[in-house]
């Protein structure tokens, strides 16, 4: 039995891959599955525009996972019978004044130096792509490969695919303790009941650090980073945008159903998930500066979520200590304990590679080269 702690996109995707391969898998979710950071996200698969100096080691992982996404989405749709609304129009980043343009040029030069396919646009060219953009748009960068997916539809589809493949989904079932005994993980305690497992995958997002039973020095350095977002309703027959648009301090994500997602604040506020006046004001003001046409749109929903952020913004992927062989043999301090957490703002983007790499490790005992740089142990002082 494999136990996965956390029913977000990472946990469910890993569970789906394992169940599909014929393994007995249980996913335990303390709330409703997919309702944490996965639900709060915007679904941008923006490996290019999100690449920033200092995170060069992460870039190949983002690029590889993004390259997997279209097929992952199709497989998921086929397995679940549900749509995930993958959109491939691309992402447009715009600058509204001279200072923004300088900053955009700085990041464009960086992206080009990393060999990423991006196209510099004049303000007029940017507005030809998206005519509703503010008339003051001074410059833009078009990133054709940064696509998007409806993350909420994805997680609903993943639940269905996981269960269809024979996985056991236990919602509203909080893991009370990770059982580590004699150098190996033995299972989890749920509702006072001991669930035996040969491997336990921690995919509990921002809550991963606080799970009981983990030895202190094996607690992942993952913290919640709050993001407030809201959605507006565009006229279904005349959407204001087709591309994902990044403006100064704002991300605008048009959905197929006509909703426009506006994100997102980045706040170090612990587990607080209140919407704040300042947060909503900033979201709306910045969105309006880039796309004035939002002024009359109805507000659909507002929410705040918690990004599970590691110390270096890169995920923790793989065994915590010791080794697990394909035969279920375990050796080490907490052998059989596996991390798939700390994805920061890239949880949706990294779902395919997380599912593939972690399930591959559990099925074969082999750790793929692609995730070796993201060992949970890399932070040891």
């Amino acid at each position: 039995m494999i136990v996965i702690v956390g029913g977000g996109i990472s946990g469910l995707a890993i569970g789906w891959y394992l169940a599909r391969a014929g393994r007995a898998v249980s996913v335990f979710e303390r709330d409703a599955a997919g309702r944490g950071a996965t639900w709060a996200a915007a679904g941008m698969l923006a490996a290019h525009v999100e690449a920033e100096p200092g995170e060069e080691r992460l870039l190949p992982l983002l690029l590889e996972s993004r390259a997997m996404w279209a097929e992952f989405g199709r497989d998921l749709e086929a397995a679940s019978g549900l749509a995930v609304d993958y959109r491939d129009e691309g992402t447009l980043v715009v600058a509204l004044d001279r200072d923004d343009t300088e900053r955009l040029k700085f990041s464009y030069d960086y992206h080009r130096s990393m060999g990423l396919e991006m196209e510099w646009l004049s303000g007029a060219e940017a507005r030809r792509l998206e005519p509703h953009l503010a008339s003051g748009v001074a410059a833009g960068v078009f990133s054709p490969l940064d696509h998007q997916v409806d993350n909420r539809k994805v997680v609903v589809a993943l639940k269905a695919a996981f269960v269809k493949a024979g996985g056991a989904l236990r919602e509203h079932a909080e893991v009370e303790e990770i059982l580590v005994e004699g150098g190996a993980v033995r299972g989890v305690l749920v509702g006072g009941e001991r669930v035996e497992a040969e491997a336990v995958v921690i995919a509990a997002g921002a809550w991963s650090r606080n799970l009981k039973g983990l030895p202190d020095h094996l607690r992942p350095p993952v913290r919640p980073v709050k993001g407030q977002m809201l959605s507006l309703v565009m006229p279904a027959d005349a959407p204001l945008l087709r591309h994902v648009v990044w403006g100064p301090g704002t991300c605008l994500v048009p959905r197929k159903d006509g909703r426009l997602f506006v994100g997102a604040t980045v706040e170090e506020m612990s587990f607080d998930t209140n919407m704040t006046a300042g947060g909503v004001y900033d979201l709306l003001r910045r969105a309006w500066e880039t796309l004035p046409g939002i002024y009359d749109l109805p507000i659909d929903e507002m929410w705040a979520g918690l990004r599970p952020t590691s110390r270096d913004d890169a995920p923790l992927l793989g065994p915590v200590s010791g080794t697990l062989t394909g035969a279920g043999e375990v050796v080490g301090e907490a052998a059989g304990l596996i991390m798939a957490t700390g994805h920061h703002r890239n949880g949706i983007l990294l779902a395919p590679i997380t599912a593939r790499a972690i399930s591959h490790y559990i099925l074969t005992g082999e750790l793929g080269e692609d995730i070796k740089p993201f060992a949970p142990t890399r932070f040891a002082a």
Binding site: P53, G54, S270, D272
Partner: protein, 280 residues
């Protein structure tokens, strides 16, 4: 709320002083560089950049962090290793700033505060009319107040007179990277004030730090120049070296400016020339 006690951190090996130390309010600092904790690509880069900068004092915006981080807070990562200077960034009124300073004192058990009262959100220039009464109230309340102020000698002097043990004039708007826009004012502040002058805001690259130190500033506070650089860690090292260069140049005493050349090898007695002055 969790209390994060601030003990005086030990002096790590990488802070072997090339330059003389700095004393503010009776406390000795080994590095004259103060560094901010915002805007880095991630916390690991922040930690590595701060280490590379050799800074001892790190500033943290009290309005933008929660102490009960639930995960790993900034204070868990920095506490014990650095001298944490809370600041009141994001405050627009004296009242707001005073409350934020009091919150910082309670939470971090420190009387030190970098006082910021912002007057305009496009330029982030300080609001002097709010800053001075806030500084006065906090000084009276026993705080060690390091005020972020305009590069205005009169304001700087008033802040010194009301009991601030250092003043922190800006070089240019926060995050602008424009360097020191009015070096003459910084010189006048240097001459008018007896407390340490920490240049705060405006640094874009290493040479700006050197210029500040050559003007006689006692230290430099920066953040964006390192955090947003293409390579924050090597830029941190660059500003550290620049600060040391500038401080050494200042204490070494520069030569006077001259309009005309003065040959560095002696010319008297050179065959065929009567004297250097006649040759001109």
């Amino acid at each position: 709320m969790k209390k994060a006690a601030l003990k005086d951190p030990p002096s790590p090996r990488n802070r072997e002083a090339v330059t003389d130390g700095l004393t503010i309010a009776g406390r000795d600092f080994t590095s004259r560089l103060f560094i901010g904790t915002a805007q880095y690509p991630n916390q690991q880069v922040m930690l590595d950049a701060i280490a590379a900068s050799g800074a001892e004092v790190v500033t943290v915006a009290m309005r933008r962090v929660r102490l009960d981080a639930g995960g790993e807070s900034l204070f868990d990562l920095l506490g014990g290793r650095y001298f944490i200077l809370p600041n009141t960034a994001g405050c627009y009124t004296a009242r707001d700033a005073v409350l934020t300073a009091q919150l910082a004192r309670e939470a971090l058990e420190t009387d030190w505060v970098k006082l910021e009262v912002i007057g305009d959100d496009e330029t982030l220039f300080p609001d002097v009319e709010q800053l001075i009464p806030a500084a006065r109230e906090l000084v009276k309340d026993g705080f060690i107040v390091l005020p972020y102020c305009n590069d205005d000698p009169v304001t700087a002097k008033k802040l010194e007179d009301l009991g601030c043990p250092a003043v922190m004039p800006l070089g240019a708007p926060i995050g602008s990277g424009m360097g020191i826009r009015n070096p003459y004012n910084i010189r006048i502040i240097r001459e008018m004030c007896t407390v340490p002058i920490i240049l705060d805001a405006g640094v874009g690259t290493a040479s700006d730090v050197t210029v500040a130190m050559e003007l006689g500033c006692d230290g430099v506070l920066l953040n964006s120049a390192v955090a947003r650089a293409r390579d924050p860690i090597s830029m941190a090292r660059a500003v550290r070296l620049a600060l040391e260069a500038g401080r050494l140049a200042y204490t070494s005493g520069r030569i006077p400016h001259r309009l005309y050349a003065k040959a560095s090898s002696p010319e008297e007695g050179v065959i065929g020339r009567v004297s250097a002055s006649k040759a001109r």
